[in-house]
């Protein structure tokens, strides 16, 4: 029987203590911190709303572009569908599907962001216009920043997809960016419902 101990060269092997692999765990922890960040912004929003009393919200003369934001919501939700489609495609070894899905996702994300910026220019109030303006811009702006980050991640994933970095067996770069993109969408559903609808 031949036997030998394994030699290890280089820096010490990183310790891992989780059932989730390290890159996914990193994204989960990042999202957990993001949820806390959004939580603090929602706390401020609801505090301002409660302090404003049972009077009309948004306080006159402000009005929110509910319809435009609704269309924007539909665009963002569709982008989640294309994101999911792209990952399903690469899981079946369909690289064209992956590339098309990612391009569509980035395009729709970009559309959402541009629409939101245009909405800011036409909405008729600014962050300086009391607690309402501050909380509105704070929440939607925070979300917009996350969309921007998500788009950056997705752009890199798209470039990598066109360079052939992903296969049916190895597509973690798409999986993790997909998790983040869905998280961004979930947060928008919460923001849209609470700020625009209710």
């Amino acid at each position: 029987m031949s036997a030998h101990a394994e030699a290890h060269h280089g820096p010490p092997i990183a310790n891992q203590s989780s059932r989730v692999d390290a890159p996914t765990l990193g994204m989960l922890l990042f999202i957990a911190s993001e949820i806390m960040l959004f939580g603090s912004f929602f706390t401020i929003y609801f505090f301002a709303r409660v302090v404003a009393g049972p009077s009309e919200w948004p306080p006159p003369p402000f009005e929110l572009p509910v319809f435009v934001a609704g269309v924007n919501t539909a665009i963002l939700l569709t982008s989640s569908f294309t994101m999911h489609w792209s990952l399903q495609a690469i899981k079946r070894g369909n690289r064209a599907g992956l590339q098309a899905g990612l391009v569509l996702t980035v395009a729709m994300g970009l559309t959402f962001l541009i629409t939101q910026i245009l909405e800011y220019s036409r909405v008729g109030f600014s962050p300086q216009d009391g607690a309402f303006g501050s909380t509105f811009y704070g929440l939607t702006g925070l979300h917009g920043a996350h969309v921007f980050v998500g788009l950056t991640i997705l752009t890199f994933a798209t470039i990598r997809a066109f360079r052939g970095h992903f296969t049916a067996a190895e597509h973690r770069g798409v999986e993790i960016s997909g998790i983040y993109w869905h998280f961004v969408d979930v947060m928008w559903i919460v923001v849209y419902t609470t700020v625009y609808i209710l």
């Binding site: 029987m1 036997a3 310790n15 891992q16 203590s17 997909g178 869905h182 998280f183 609808i197």
Partner: protein, 220 residues
């Protein structure tokens, strides 16, 4: 606990559920009135909480499939043992299992600790004791002709196995315990849980140190 963001597919499903959840609340609030919205919110939240608790109880543990490392003629054996690691039965088992292969044996000894010390991150003594047991055990294995390397693992044996699998990529696992009635690991069902959790062959070796010591005394 269910983690809704463990994979993209689960995150997507969670997004769809979120859409349904907030749509129901918004429709109730806008069509019927704000108190209807509150009632729908409370009802859906309670239903979601009940579902999460029930699903957490029934959800089977996910099997971890360690990636294959090494050459085809290599046999990578992960041994999880604590006080029984130097037992003759375990040595025989390792020898049998590695017959005809270039074997790599990693012995992991969990740093057993009290709950209080574990939560207080007071692990120094536990790790020190585990290291002493490991060193002595590795020496006994070497005397038996098995050249193994070892490391001190997490206090929780299943976690220690999982950590080792990630870096070692074993072909099989050998769990060595005391006999039934004297083994905390068997009492906690570690072997059964490990078989559910890890997609590699798992051998359970019972080492009765008292019997082995008696046999040694008789021979002498």
């Amino acid at each position: 606990m269910i983690n809704p963001l463990r994979s993209e597919a689960e995150a997507y499903r969670f997004l769809l559920l979120t859409v349904g959840y907030f749509a129901a609340i918004a429709i109730a609030a806008l069509v019927i009135g704000k108190w209807a919205g509150v009632i729908v919110f409370l009802a859906l939240t309670a239903a979601g909480a009940v579902y999460v608790v029930r699903a957490s109880r029934t959800e089977p543990p996910r099997q971890a499939v360690p990636s294959r490392r090494g050459r085809a003629n290599e046999r990578r054996i992960l041994v999880i043992a604590n006080e029984t690691v130097g037992g003759a039965r375990l040595r025989n088992e390792i020898t049998t299992r590695s017959e005809g292969y270039d074997e790599h044996v990693l012995v992991v000894t969990p740093a057993l600790n009290s709950h209080l010390r574990h939560w207080a991150s007071d692990e120094d003594n536990a790790r020190l004791e585990a290291q002493k047991r490991l060193d002595a055990s590795l020496e006994r294995l070497r005397q038996g002709g098995i050249d193994a390397r070892g490391e001190v693992g997490d206090a929780e044996p299943l976690q220690a196995m999982e950590d080792a699998l990630r870096l070692f990529g074993a072909d099989e696992i050998i769990i060595s315990t005391h006999p039934e009635g004297r083994s905390h690991w068997l009492e906690k069902g570690i072997v059964e849980t490990a078989r559910e959790r890890f997609a590699v062959p798992i051998t359970h070796v019972v080492v009765d140190l008292e019997v082995e010591h008696e046999e040694v005394r008789d021979r002498n």
